[in-house]
Symmetry: C2
Subunit: 499 residues, 2 copies
């Protein structure tokens, strides 16, 4: 057995443990009785610990060094796989075990406090625990930065979006931050002159909502022989290899959110279901990173499903499903409803236009905090200032401000930027796919996603982690990340009534 | 940290992995889409392999030797825990890794062939693969026998029922084998003179069956905050610590089987839910063995639920649940239905009287095969002969003969005896509980299981693996396993119309 083959064997084992953790995580959110929480936490932590032990086994480090010498005999997929193995190993070994453990403990503690501090609007109660998390995240960033050759903040981002650097993110975010405030004003002005969207009136039976969601999932290409749709409080796309578990949350009074949520998660799911078959258990067969992953959900949700053509298809289907009649059920009204813009305090409730502002704010704040330029004491003030500048509103309290997200207390520093990177990438991919395939938009108006999914499968899904995010985007769309395409999408949809 | 404490830490880790495997197993039978089978097998095998590696880690063997020296400082629970740790270690280390792997591969292969050979009635097709399984089971038995100081067949049984020896099983089974043929004849004669049971006519909506099952589970003491009831093709009680997952299979045309199945699995579940809380993650906190486990399901199903008093409670509840009227819904008819005796070829369809005959046959045959006194070539003939002697019938083909059970192809040699050991133990426990508690039977007639469950909790469930099966039974009932009590139960119910 060559060193490389031995590495493949070890990483297949890690993939199998990852699959087990994925199913346990899904079960925890969908099926598990409350009384099992302690034991489930122990089971998951044990598997995560074993996985970390296998990845940081000194023998694995030796094998990486030995395989380096064999690399001339590897084909491009194997070489990329070897590169991803090393990447995983670098992230796992860069941080001393006691720091990993301290950080995991601190995040669990802070998350627990956050669960009561947020509804109580009590930032002071969270601050000491959050300070501990921040201090440890800074140490982790510093430890990884040394090995990765980047800044500590970039090292944290790199965990979610490999290769992402502020030199790539800052220009995009600065461009958008310049563009958005004025654009938002124009969108709101125009919206005020248009008919107000009228929400269809329910009740909308859950069984009908589920059947509709499953029908659309199937139509878009979701394979129910390798996945499921269930219910959880917080919708997600999880599960395991060839076993993709989507969830949603139904509201009998409003079908619109669950429906669009299902389409969003289906975008994530297709990426997972279409990963390259021979490499499913290897690092190179994994999704490229969280920015590309988010682009796959947003290309379905934002680019395709909220478009005029798809609304033409959806409107009669909805009328048939729910027995709806009247103007609220027209394609034009549904499009207005699904593209309504309204600045608000809460990120997860934000529309397509204001969402990037929420992300840019958090990105800038967390970067400053990791870099030591902003303290937690100054966070609420900086938050208010940033919201004012980007969205023109100031949250009345921390509950609707810096306490709203789980990311910081739970240790997810460096994640936020991937949401808006994903949105911009989705716009650029949809633009390329529309130009390169026949009848993408007319077929969407018939509920037919074939050209879009075919393009994504060929250009994105089947590539796994063969290329870097930058290479992948350039090969798929012919250019690097270009904010003008994203801006152009927003302008066409929200000012020109197209798209 | 003492050696003993280190062992506790290691066994808690093993318990956590066991919990993960338990949830994955439940998911596989209830939720998993078909296309995930390969990856799920890999995930489960990986966790089982890691578990085996942790248990056979040479350091663990050293710790056992070191803890031996500390044993005077241990309390009785710790000492029993240490004993169970050693037992697990002996079973894991007695067999060389390559034999474990070969056996696991051979069983998987034979099980696959069995799945088509059984419906095709083709024993010849299964024979080579089954011969391989048998040869490896004999090797495993021989390897363990040396360490355990017993015969190879006993070593296989010991895996399921710790401490069980043929010197304890043979007298019971010989006693029953002498008793049953004549007894069965008398039961059938008597039954012929009685009114024939009349099955209630459906349909019986699944939602109503489920609600009734859950109501009875709750009433018996199942804690839904630490468990669930779902549907699977083959009903079982599985899951994890504080997360007991029962399953059943509904038939709209016949509620009787699913209902009794739910009560049976509830017996298993209560044993698991009532294990001693401070020891849940340690070997001493586990259920004692499969014979005691089976006794817990059978004491609910056979001793309590099929009794006259419980039928008095159940009949009106069934009438209310399904809107039933007429003589089929009387307690007397339901009791006749639930105690109907009819010799048949299939073990899993057998009634309380003929079931032991199926078990004794298999026990004797597998013992002979492991001991080398019976070859697979002679198995069909020996099967026919045994059925004739015990039940007076001869199966017309192997599909209804030696091909019917999954146990042998899947490597479960040594398991069968626990079914009938469990039945005899259940009778003995019920007899003791009835004498030691107030109003056990009158309260059953009100659907109140409190005295029975209280007795089981105190005498069995809370003991975990503190005592051996023999000690546990003696402490709980005041005597060793006594076949006369089991026979007496059968006589009273099936000849004297009592119980």
């Amino acid at each position: 057995m060559t060193a490389y083959n031995d590495l493949e064997r070890r990483f297949a084992r890690l993939a199998a443990i990852g699959d087990a953790i994925g199913i346990l995580g899904w079960d925890c959110q969908t099926m598990m009785p409350d009384g099992a929480a302690t034991e489930r936490a122990a089971a998951t932590a044990t598997l995560a610990g074993l996985s970390h032990e296998l990845l940081t086994d000194p023998r694995l480090g030796d094998l990486l060094a030995e395989a380096e010498a064999e690399s001339s005999s590897l084909d491009p997929w194997q070489r990329a796989n070897f590169h991803e193995m090393r990447r995983a190993w670098v992230h796992a070994t860069a941080v001393p075990a006691d720091l990993v453990e301290a950080s995991s403990r601190a995040s669990s503690a802070a998350e627990m406090i956050w669960r009561t501090a947020r509804p109580a609007n009590d930032f002071t109660a969270l601050r000491p625990a959050l300070a501990e998390v921040l201090a440890l995240q800074r140490q982790i960033g510093a430890a990884k930065a040394e090995v990765l050759g980047c800044s500590p903040y970039e090292a944290l981002v790199d965990h979610y979006e490999p290769g992402a650097r502020t030199a790539m993110i800052d220009p995009l975010f600065n461009d958008l931050a310049d563009f958005l405030p004025d654009f938002l004003g124009r969108v709101l002005d125009r919206q005020a002159t248009q008919p107000q969207p009228e929400p269809p009136v329910g009740p909308f039976p859950i069984a009908a909502q589920r059947a509709l969601g499953e029908r659309l999932m199937r139509q878009i290409g979701f394979d129910f022989n390798r996945g499921r749709l269930d219910v959880s409080l917080h919708p997600f796309c999880g599960g395991a290899t060839n076993d993709i578990r989507l969830t949603t949350r139904y509201d009998e009074a409003d079908f619109t959110r669950a429906l669009m949520g299902v389409l969003h998660e289906t975008g994530h799911a297709l990426y997972e279901q279409n990963r390259p078959a021979p490499w499913l258990a290897q690092p190179v067969g994994s999704a490229r990173g969280m920015a590309i992953h988010e682009s796959q959900s947003l290309i379905i949700e934002m680019q395709a499903a909220r478009s005029h053509p798809f609304m033409e298809y959806l409107a009669p289907l909805l009328r048939e499903t729910f027995g709806g009649t009247g103007p609220a059920w027209s394609a034009a009204n549904l499009h207005r409803l699904y593209t309504r813009v309204e600045p608000g305090f809460i990120r997860v409730d934000a529309d397509e236009v204001t969402y990037p502002a929420h992300v840019i704010l958090r990105y800038r704040l967390e970067k400053s905090m990791i870099e030591g330029d902003l303290t937690l004491g100054d966070l609420p003030g900086a938050w208010a200032e940033g919201m004012k500048a980007l969205l023109g509103i100031v949250p009345p309290d921390d509950r609707r401000g810096c306490l709203q997200d789980i990311h910081w207390p739970s240790g997810g520093w460096g994640y936020f930027s991937t949401y808006t990177l994903g949105a911009a990438i989705a716009a650029q991919m949809f633009d390329a796919a529309s130009r390169e395939t026949q009848d993408l938009l007319p077929l969407l108006a018939q509920g037919d996603f074939t050209p879009l999914i075919g393009w994504l499968r060929t250009n994105i899904h089947c590539k796994g982690s063969l290329l870097s995010t930058t290479e992948l985007l350039r090969e798929a769309t012919g250019r690097p990340l270009d904010p003008t395409i994203y801006r152009r999408h927003l302008e066409r949809r929200y000012l020109e009534a197209e798209g």
